[in-house]
């Protein structure tokens, strides 16, 4: 029983004319939840829990900022130790960012620490 962590640095190219909405899907029938904040305002949590169509702001306003996301996983599915999260910005030419990993033992925890540079 343990907690593993993974740090991910990525970027997302925005369509600056549109609003940005984020949906996070926890795959593999596992338990997961996320917290979001912007790197320049770390004490302000934008949202916490299940993230579905969360409005982040206008593309033009978000350009240049870095979105930080912490996603915690708990391996509840006895059929698999795989974990995955899909970050869908609903904006931009490639809106989906999918990351995969796995825990060692059943009921382990895993944490994704993500930083998305928004361009």
């Amino acid at each position: 029983m343990a907690t593993e962590e993974r740090f991910i640095y990525d970027s997302h190219i925005l369509d600056k004319t549109k609003g940005v909405y984020l949906t996070i899907t926890i795959g593999n029938d596992q338990i997961g939840g996320s917290q979001l904040w912007f790197k320049d305002t770390p004490s302000t949590i934008i949202s916490s829990g299940k993230i579905t169509n969360l409005p982040l702001g206008n593309g033009n306003d978000l350009t240049g900022r870095t979105l930080c996301i912490k996603t915690n996983f708990y391996d509840r599915n006895p059929n698999t130790n795989n974990i995955s999260a899909t970050y869908n910005f609903n904006n931009g030419s490639i809106p989906l960012h999918v990351y995969y990993d796995h825990v060692i033992n059943d009921k382990d925890f895993f944490v994704f620490h993500l930083e998305f540079k928004l361009n």
Binding site: D29, I31, K70, V98
Partner: protein, 324 residues
């Protein structure tokens, strides 16, 4: 721990086993052995089976004529990033529960190998249970997101373990389930694969009706079996139709069921009955004892009693060695 040793001794007394086990299981998964090959061969303690969640990979060990089965559910070998509670509730379960198995056992005169397949065709929940699952999904996401892991792992574990139990409990609250299964059986008189000859095949449906949250399940089976490569002179070139019913009650560490199955020999126009009382008793999270007592289909020597144990050792790998 004492119970574990007792069960080990019990197992070693009844059969020789040498295997690796790396799966855990729950009482509700334990209408053992659930490999279709054992059902086809009438070697299972229960003939009317409760549809269960198949294991990704598992080995069934039971003192059934030195038999064993290997099962795999290929769907869960791969990543499924879009599989969340919504997919669980609304997508067909056919692929995700498709379970393949190979079972083997010995008779007095031959070695038998079976290949089996089973999958859930239908899984129905009440609107209330569905709403509960979706609501639970939202609330659990809110809870886990707030933990500062790994620093707060202990706190998070206490919370998540209890939440996982609630989710498991909700998922078991099906109103109705239909499972399809099929198997093909071959035997060899000299333990050689070269002489392995198909004997028997069968397809069947298991129905599980549990409208009340009382622990009672009403189970039905409808099964068609036919002989393969048989000798017409002996009258074995037969086909059979089974239909049966069982009442199952599950509570805590105990699962008991009473079943009655009628077998119609379509060629000889004869009927045979089977009655059985089956008990699963969970000694610990890893070990369950299984006992079955009743009357089998055959008209002679038809009183049977089966005893066995089922092992799952969490995620650790262990070896259960042969009797010295």
């Amino acid at each position: 721990m004492k119970n574990n040793y007792l069960a080990l001794v019990f197992l070693c007394m009844t059969c020789k086993l040498y295997s690796q086990i790396n799966t855990s299981f729950k009482l509700s998964d334990l209408q053992t052995p659930d490999a279709p090959g054992f059902i086809l061969a009438d070697k299972a303690p229960a003939s009317v089976q409760k549809p269960t969640n198949p294991k990704t990979f598992g080995i069934d060990l039971l003192s059934l004529h030195q038999g064993g089965a290997v099962q795999a559910t290929p769907y869960w070998f791969f990543q499924h990033p879009d599989y969340d509670v919504s997919k669980y509730l609304h997508r067909s379960q056919f692929i995700e529960t498709l379970n393949l198995s190979v079972a083997t056992f010995k008779t007095d005169t031959s070695s038998v190998v079976t290949a089996g397949i089973k999958t859930l065709l239908l899984r129905l929940y009440s609107k209330q249970t569905k709403a509960g699952m979706v609501s639970q999904d939202y609330s659990v996401a809110g809870i886990i997101a707030k933990f500062n892991l790994p620093a707060e792992e202990k706190l998070a574990r206490a919370a998540m373990d209890s939440v996982a139990k609630i989710i498991d409990s909700l998922r078991k609250q099906t109103i109705f389930k239909i499972e399809f299964a099929g198997a093909y059986l071959g035997s060899s008189s000299n333990n050689s694969f070269n002489n392995l000859l198909g004997n028997k095949a069968g397809i069947w449906l298991n129905f599980d009706f549990s409208p009340f949250k009382s622990g009672f399940d009403l189970l039905f089976v409808s099964r068609y079996l036919w002989s393969v490569n048989s000798n017409a002179k002996t009258g074995k070139d037969s086909s059979f139709f089974d239909y049966g019913v069982a009442v199952s009650y599950q509570k805590s560490r105990f699962d008991g069921s009473l079943e009655c199955v009628n077998r119609r020999d379509m060629s000889l126009k004869k009927n045979y009955d089977r009655f059985a009382f089956i008990i699963n008793f969970k000694l610990s999270d890893e070990i369950t004892l299984v006992s079955s007592l009743g009357k089998d289909f055959s008209s002679v020597n038809n009183i049977f009693s089966l005893f066995g144990a089922k092992f799952g050792i969490g995620s650790s790998k262990v070896k259960v060695g042969p009797r010295p």
